[in-house]
């Protein structure tokens, strides 16, 4: 065998195959690069504009390579830019978003985990029906519940407050978190629960000591999903809050609608980026866990 390989002459078919392979790869990567550029171009434009001088933008147009560089627009967008009379930038709205997103994410994830635990491991008569009803929430568009929420927030005295938005996002998010967790917990063997019950553990002890320690993969998924979803949500923020109470997504709109002066594209770009940063960071650092958590079962 070795001899044959050593004595082999130039093989035209093998060479052709290598060439074909090269051109195949070349074509694939060319197409991929093209689409990546198309997809990334808007982001690039915004990043550039946030760093350009307003005069540069005015002279050379919105879409152009930067000929100037400064960070002033970021500082202005963050802290001093004036929107309808108040000159505080996006800072307050950014923190509104944070104080809305963090509790809503944590509470909805915890409730989802508990729901999933009950619906997969402590089934009762009608629990499947209940689960299917909860699933309806996944397919329900948010605007359907605008009126009921308006009524409820009014009754609770939570209109124009971050707490109201937290409540909305917790409730609206339960369908998703329950679905994620329940489907993950189904793959945990029932024997574990039985063994723990014989070992003397009750409902909560089993949840804390056996289910939760197995949960990080799916909890990471739900946290990423909820955080991104709630942060980027816009409709409820615009409808139920105004001015200083608005989350950043809603406030960005007010920015564009502002006043009589010339549009400050540099500040707007920086503001948009500030608003997009948290989900972007979450994706950059958590993305791989997200995929892993969705594809991996509970027990390896």
């Amino acid at each position: 065998m070795a001899d044959i390989a050593l004595n082999a002459r130039h093989d035209p078919e093998a060479a052709a195959a290598t060439r074909r392979y090269f051109w195949n790869r070349f074509l694939i990567y060319a197409v991929l690069t093209l689409f990546a550029v198309i997809y990334l171009a808007p982001l690039l434009v915004v990043v550039f504009n946030s760093l350009r001088e307003q005069s540069d933008i005015a002279r050379n147009g919105l879409i152009s390579l930067p000929r100037s560089f400064r960070l002033d627009a970021w500082a202005e967008a963050w802290g001093t830019y004036c929107v309808s009379g108040t000159c505080e930038g996006m800072k307050r709205n950014f923190f509104n978003s944070l104080w809305m997103t963090i509790p809503a994410t944590l509470i909805s994830t915890l409730l989802g985990a508990m729901n999933g635990y009950v619906l997969s491991k402590w089934r009762f008569k009608g629990s499947e029906i209940l689960f299917n009803l909860m699933l309806l929430g996944v397919f329900m568009p948010g605007q359907i519940s605008l009126m009921p929420w308006a009524f409820l927030l009014g009754k609770l005295g939570l209109t124009n407050s971050t707490y109201g938005l937290v409540l909305i996002h917790v409730v609206q998010g339960i369908s998703f978190t329950t679905l994620f967790c329940r489907n993950f917990y189904v793959s945990i063997p029932d024997d574990l629960i039985k063994a723990a019950r014989i070992d003397g553990a009750g409902f909560w002890r089993i949840f804390r000591k056996i289910i939760l320690p197995l949960s990080p993969p799916i909890l990471i998924v739900t946290v990423i999903w909820q955080f991104t979803g709630i942060w980027n949500e816009y409709l409820f923020g615009v409808v139920f809050t105004s001015g200083q109470q608005q989350p950043i997504t809603a406030a960005l709109v007010a920015l564009t609608a502002g006043g009589t002066t010339a549009r400050a594209y540099d500040v707007m770009s920086a503001a948009v980026l500030i608003g997009a940063l948290p989900p972007l960071l979450i994706y950059l650092f958590g993305g791989k866990y997200f995929v892993r958590g969705l594809t991996q079962g509970a027990i390896k």
């Binding site: 063997p189 024997d191 574990l192 039985k194 063994a195 723990a196 019950r197 014989i198 070992d199 003397g200 553990a201 002890r205 000591k209 056996i210 320690p213 197995l214 027990i299 390896k300």
Partner: protein
């Protein structure tokens, strides 16, 4: 005193009856095997003893306590699962102490108990590992350790060996038997493997379709199966069932391969009222090559001719498929004395070990 008593136990899901009136009893220290084909209800029965399934009707007593509505944790039982059910995120030590933690046993006592059990099962060097880092046999040991540490009234095993490979299964079977001798706890052991049941149990309950067919010692179950189901289920290769006709109070005739009838004398007369048509049940090891010497050693041996259709040597023994009328029966022979394919041999059937069944009721006559 009996450690476990089950009276007229029923279980049904909706209209589907899983268990139809189970009566069982285990004396203190006894090893009871529940054996039967899949779907016979043996695992459901065990889960009901453990309290993991509700009772539809009937009574379960553990010791002198009616436990029908007692929580699993308060039944004073320990259970080993087929899947082992080790807590994957905990170390072996934490797995073993989890039950004691739940019950609030003092730390010092826990450490003492772990030490004792780990020594007993020789798993000291595994205590810091997680279940994922253990082999099948090691997991099995840890699962037993978790049960043993409880010192319960009753041990429940749910097919604990069926996830192991063949060799390990035999080793662990021996270990379980030794362990039971040493610890002497009352044990209920579910298995579908009749060899496990025969080797381990002091008494076997053979189950089929939700009811106990026979509850007796392994020897009685093997020698005097109460019906054709038990006879066919226990023993491998299975008992041969040969249709036969009663020709007198102590003789029957069976159809030979050439179509003629062969007369066989019974070892004992049948009770009055036995049907004309019967089924002769003969275990493969009670079929011999007929010799006058054999007849003088075992006077109840009856002879007839049978062609050899197939020979299967297994090493320790040789199985031969023999033709009788239009059915095939299996005989078990010494390899040195085994028939060869194509040969027609004179069989010796030990009628003193044979069973007769009523073909209509399938019951032993």
């Amino acid at each position: 005193m009996s450690a476990l008593m089950i009276r007229d136990l029923h279980k049904s899901y909706g209209g589907l009856e899983i268990l139809a009136g189970i009566n069982l009893e285990a004396r203190t220290g006894e090893f009871i095997a529940l054996v039967g084909p899949s779907g016979c209800g043996k695992s459901t029965l065990l889960a009901m003893i453990a309290g993991l399934e509700t009772v539809t009707s009937g009574e379960i007593w553990i010791g002198d306590r009616l436990v029908n509505s007692v929580q699993p944790k308060d039944r004073d039982i320990a259970m080993v699962f087929q899947s082992y059910a080790l807590y994957p995120t905990m170390t072996v030590r934490q797995n073993i102490t989890f039950g004691m933690e739940s019950r609030g046993v003092p730390k010092a006592e826990q450490a003492e108990a772990v030490k004792r059990v780990a020594a007993l099962l020789q798993i000291e060097q595994l205590l810091k590992r997680k279940p994922g880092q253990l082999s099948g046999g090691q997991r099995q040991r840890v699962a037993m350790g978790r049960a043993l540490v409880r010192d319960p009234k009753l041990f429940l095993f749910d097919e604990p060996l069926s996830n192991l490979d063949a060799k390990l299964r035999v080793d662990m079977r021996t270990e379980i038997k030794k362990l039971h001798h040493r610890v002497g706890k009352t044990t209920v052991y579910v298995t579908h493997d009749q060899v496990e049941a025969m080797t381990l149990a002091s008494r076997i309950a053979v189950m089929n379709q939700g009811s106990v067919q026979q509850f007796d010692t392994p020897k009685r179950i093997y020698d005097r199966p109460t019906n054709m189901f038990v006879a066919g289920f226990m023993g491998s290769p299975a008992m041969n069932f040969i249709p036969a006709r009663l020709t007198g109070s102590t003789s029957i005739s069976v159809r030979a391969a050439d179509g003629s009838d062969a007369a066989l004398a019974l070892a004992a007369p049948l009770p009055a009222g036995a049907p004309k048509d019967v089924v002769l049940g003969v275990r493969p090891e009670h079929i011999y090559r007929f010799t006058t010497d054999l007849k003088s050693r075992k006077p109840a041996v009856e002879s007839m001719q049978a062609p050899v259709e197939l020979v299967e040597p297994t090493g320790a023994e040789t199985l031969a498929v023999l033709r009788l009328g239009d059915l095939e029966i299996t005989g078990r022979f010494e390899p040195d004395d085994a028939p060869v394919m194509g040969e027609t041999i004179t069989l010796g059937i030990d009628m003193s070990r044979a069973c007769l069944f009523d073909p209509a009721t399938k019951a032993l006559l």
